[in-house]
Amino acid sequence: MAEPNRPLSPHLQIYKFEITMAMSIVHRITGVGLYLGTALLAWWFAAAAIGDGAFDIAQGFFNHWFGRLILIGYTWALFHHMLGGLRHFVWDMGKGYGPERYTYGWLTLIGGVVLTALLWLLVLI
């Protein structure tokens, strides 16, 4: 069958960038990150349940700079996804579709970073 000569719908790059579209995909990416991170959480609990040797290995990983980076990234993803989720609750109630949606987007982005920074400052102090 011949391809009908129909107009194509415009794709992503045709649209002007908006904070809402960035927060939409970041919400999804942080969600997938948190998904994978639960395996580390289960490993941590399991290591503690198994014994001293297994738990030392797990704590060694999370105390290493790389493990700590993953932990900090995990808490950021959590805060970001949580704030993005609160935004979705507002939308679920049929509100927040006006220009305030841009404010919500920026609040999600900045709020996630600020909460993560505050948390780890508290840990380090």
């Binding site: 959480l41 503690a48 349940a49 738990f55 679920d92």
Partner: protein, 126 residues
């Protein structure tokens, strides 16, 4: 005016009443996750660099263990539903889609099982 198809009128079975099940469970676990995840963050941060004795002492408290198990269950149900939507959005081939949704379910419940059993073992003294 009825919007039902002729086929559905003939079979007369009506709705399975599960049309909003995915959406509703996703939102319900999302609401639960807000306080539960804040609790988990506090828990993890308070146990950064802890030794095993501190873990055992922490989970000897039944309230801490119960809350942590609730967090794991709510999070695992939420993430299973979430990743299912990601798979359905991006995977076009029917076969791969079904396999991935299957693996997603196994992973989510597997993580939950490992975490819950570990927490119970810790709670009962390791």
């Amino acid at each position: 005016m009825s919007y039902r198809t002729p086929y559905s009128r003939v079979t007369g079975l009506g709705s399975a009443k599960e049309g909003t099940g995915h959406f509703w469970t996703q939102r319900m676990t999302a609401v639960a996750n807000v306080p539960l995840m804040l609790f988990l963050v506090w828990l993890i941060v308070s146990l950064v660099g802890a030794d095993r004795a501190q873990m055992l002492a922490t989970f000897a408290n039944p309230f801490v263990t119960a809350l942590t198990i609730l967090t794991v269950l709510s999070a695992c149900i939420h993430m299973k539903l979430g990743l299912q939507v990601v798979i359905e959005d991006y995977v076009q081939a029917e076969g791969s889609k079904i396999v991935l949704i299957l693996l997603n379910t196994f992973f989510s419940y597997g993580v939950a099982a490992v975490a819950v059993v570990s927490l119970l073992k810790l709670s009962f003294g390791g």
